[in-house]
Symmetry: C2
DNA sequence: TATTAGCACTTGACCATTGAGAGTGCTAAC
DNA sequence: GTTAGCACTCTCAATGGTCAAGTGCTAATA
């Protein structure tokens, strides 16, 4: 963090806070008026000119006030964290909102989906959540059920509290008894491994099996491989209508960018996946995001973990002009509540 | 359908088609130029004035051309149907796009979800799809799996090709053997009934059981009741980014309306549910929709059925200025392909 | 030396005016 | 019944002028 003297820092805060509250460039007058420094506008102007030179502020045009740059927000957010300034009194509301989630505690997907709704309602930004990716999802048990003559249903239960199912077509009918035997085999072999690990093991087994050619085992492998091939799109987003009310998304271009960002979920998934193994609340501001789609947005994100196993990621997407303190507070507590709910089941 | 003479009808078509291609009010000059009538603009003007009087056209302002009213679109669409004018040559593209869906044919939810993506890609409007509602979903089989000491997983297989699962918390541990017995009981009792019917039967059983107090049966009923209580949100929507490129959604207000319409899925679900028992392609134009959120949008929708059992609804949502012929074509064939895929499994 | 008052300057927002262009309805002629 | 001609209406884009906000700079001040 770059070193700023007390006075400069206070001015920077004032600008950021004022701009967060009201989306107009901040002039030297309002700084002196709303945030009582013992200084005249002229002095503030000098300080602001310095801050601009250092890259914390910028002027949209000569005769406008100043606006924080991404770097400015970053400084502000870092200070919030360093000084423990995040504190809100509406923890009760938050808990109230999550009380109803209790009934969903055993189904991670439903839980996360509902969480996004709460996140967006409370923050007025986009709520997002993601269940763990295949490399972080460990199989608890696989069950195979006869569905129709030429199809079986595979039901995968995971340690992270998810149920995934997949219908698999088969050429010849298999009895439920055989299915149970196959499932037993698979459980003995794969239970406790992540989906990705299992895929790898299957590939290895398969090449071995080609030689031995045991029909039951190779059949089991094929079925399991298919069972794991469902599209893994565990990303939940909600609150678009909410976000469109913000003045930050008053123009069409920004809305388009946003809707693209949330429609090809790929970018966000990649990003959240990276963070799922970390700890605590992360704040990614505008250009700090490497993906183009997100360069004009900010993310506040926190993983939910049980011990060292990630069980999901929750967060908020909003404009860079975001109420970071509030967003961080909401995300942090949402993550904590989900974690608690999940481990205290 | 109101009676128009040949000439008036042709003018109406010209206006609608021109406006669909290019979103500017259509003047008398363009009608004579692009659509070669043997008439002068003056004559066309007279005809257009008549059409306006009849409610098929309107002028945004005195010196602008004419724009179709919802009634105008309606007349146009009805004529398309009556005259079998819907024909496109890109059926191969459509089939190509759906070939990859073959692998999903056994999982209705995945299939419909993927279908919405195709629908929106092809039409450049919003693709929508809905799986059958609980009153139209018949239970094929229920399976109960032990998940954890205090939780079991219920897996419901339906005749419509859906798998639904629900984790159910229980106070005392139940062995898999008991679960199998319970599942057997439930299957014997409820297989072949719709979810709604089952709910009703349970309520009746429960009141009976209170007297007899057979623990196994009452336990089974409770479990089944919980199993059926998952949130039934079988609505899939995609293509928002696509739709925002249209000039029809150039202003913020319309975007807000649209995003509200698709975010509280309730309205659309209700509408589609009504149509799921009908047949063929339906076109709902703007104000024909009773729900406010949809009054400025048009829907082109078709149910997918196997015999007399609805297996889903697919469709397109777009502006009233929609290419109805193309939309109807796409929706019709998508519905047919899904139906075929499903029955020819 | 740090701060401040004063002032000239820049710029976007707002508003009224204007002219061009598109399209109309009406009337009279064909 | 159709059309040419014309006056009329309305939108849109461009223009220019004023206003208020906010700046940077300079000189005065504590």
């Amino acid at each position: 963090m770059q070193i700023l003297n007390e006075r400069s820092r206070k001015v920077l805060y004032a600008v950021v806070q004022s701009y967060i509250n009201y989306p107009d460039p901040v002039g030297s007058r309002v700084v002196t008026k709303k945030y009582s420094f013992g200084l005249s506008p002229a002095t503030i102007r000098n300080i602001m000119a310095d801050l601009e030179e250092m890259g914390f502020l910028l002027q949209p045009h000569t005769s406008a006030g100043r606006v924080p740059t991404d770097l400015g927000y970053r400084y502000y957010v870092d200070s919030l964290v360093a000084e423990g300034m995040i504190s809100y009194s509406d923890i009760e509301i938050l808990q109230e909102l999550y009380r109803k989630l209790e009934t969903l505690k055993n189904d991670m997907d439903l839980l996360l989906n509902e969480a996004t709704r709460n996140l967006s309602m409370m923050s007025h930004y986009l709520g997002i959540a993601m269940s763990p990716m295949p490399d972080m999802t460990t199989l608890k048990r696989i069950n195979l059920l006869k569905y129709k003559a030429d199809a079986i249903a595979a039901v995968l239960l995971t340690d992270e509290g998810m149920i995934k199912n997949k219908v698999i077509s088969v050429d010849s009918e298999i009895s439920q008894k055989d299915l149970n035997r196959i499932a037993g085999l698979l459980n003995a072999e794969f239970s406790g491994y992540t989906f990705d690990e299992i895929r790898l093991k299957i590939v290895r087994e398969m090449s071995k099996e080609k030689i031995k050619c045991d029909t039951l085992i190779s059949r089991a492998m094929k079925i399991c491989q298919e069972a794991l091939s469902f599209p893994f799109s565990g990303l939940f987003v909600s609150g678009l209508a909410e976000v469109l009310e913000l003045p930050d998304f008053a123009d069409l271009g920004k809305i388009r960018e946003l809707s693209k960002a949330i429609e090809d979920k790929h970018t966000i998934i990649k990003l959240l996946d990276k963070l799922s193994e970390s700890d605590g609340v992360h704040v990614l501001i505008g250009s700090e995001n490497s993906e183009d789609e997100l360069k004009k947005l900010s993310l506040v994100v926190s993983p939910c973990r049980e011990g060292d196993r990630p069980i999901g990621v929750v967060g908020i997407i909003g404009p860079t002009r975001m109420n970071y303190a509030k967003a961080m507070y909401i995300v942090e507590h949402t993550a904590k509540l989900i974690t608690k709910m999940f481990s205290g089941r």
